[in-house]
Amino acid sequence: MKFGILVNEGPYNHQAADTAYQFAKAAIDKGHEIHRVFFYHDGVNNASKLTEPPADDRNIVNRWSKMAEEHGVDLVVCVAAALRRGIVNENLASGFRISGLGQLVESGIQADRLVTFGD
């Protein structure tokens, strides 16, 4: 089955970014396809390559990048939301791309299920 995922909150501040990742990982492990993870609202902050969490904590941004690399998951950051919050190509982590909101609607159309994670 094809899943679309919408992430509405940034890393660390809300658990939404963690739950979305664990869901996506479990879906891949079960043989499902992640059609796209779309980052909206403060969710765009998941894509900042400048984050440096403490050494004994999980690295949320790198986890996403690795998922994109290993499983070809499409990580899309909303351009309008990103500009408001200072996420641009200059600080974009690997595996993420910046695009329009149409990508979210398209994911709703093409995926079998769209699941929202937020606050």
């Binding site: 609202h41 309008a80 939301a81 149409g102 609607v105 709703g108 159309i109 093409q110």
Partner: protein, 126 residues
């Protein structure tokens, strides 16, 4: 819009449960709604809980220094987005009536709203 998606028509519902201005969800939800118009889907907007406040007439944001985006709800018709649903109980428990709203909406009971949600293919919550 790419080839693959151009033939499909799904029922999309955007659920608005947050008040405007205190957080950005109402404004950014509206931005998704506007974009969705280009995809020729069957779009419904649901306003319940504090989301009904988004449609309140008479918003004036000069003193808070933010942008008043409430006129955009009036523009939705021009994008062929005409299914706006408001939950009756949410409206009444806030002392509001349809007269207080900036656009025409259909008021549904909780039970009718539940049925509407059940029929959707895609539900996005903001």
């Amino acid at each position: 819009m790419d080839e693959e998606s151009s033939g499909t028509v799904k029922k999309f519902a955007f659920i608005n449960r947050k008040a405007p201005y205190g957080t950005i969800y109402a404004l950014e939800s509206l931005e998704v709604v506007l974009i969705s118009a280009a995809f020729d889907q069957d779009v419904s907007l649901v306003f319940m809980d504090d989301g009904v406040y988004q449609l309140k007439k008479g918003q004036g944001t000069k003193a808070v220094g933010m942008k008043n985006f409430s006129p955009t709800y009036r523009a939705l018709e021009g994008y062929d987005i005409e299914k706006l649903y408001v939950e009756k109980e949410s409206l009444e428990s806030r002392g509001l009536t349809e007269e207080d709203l900036i656009v025409d909406v259909e008021v549904l009971t909780a039970e009718e709203m539940a049925t509407l949600m059940d029929e959707q293919d895609v539900v996005m919550s903001f």
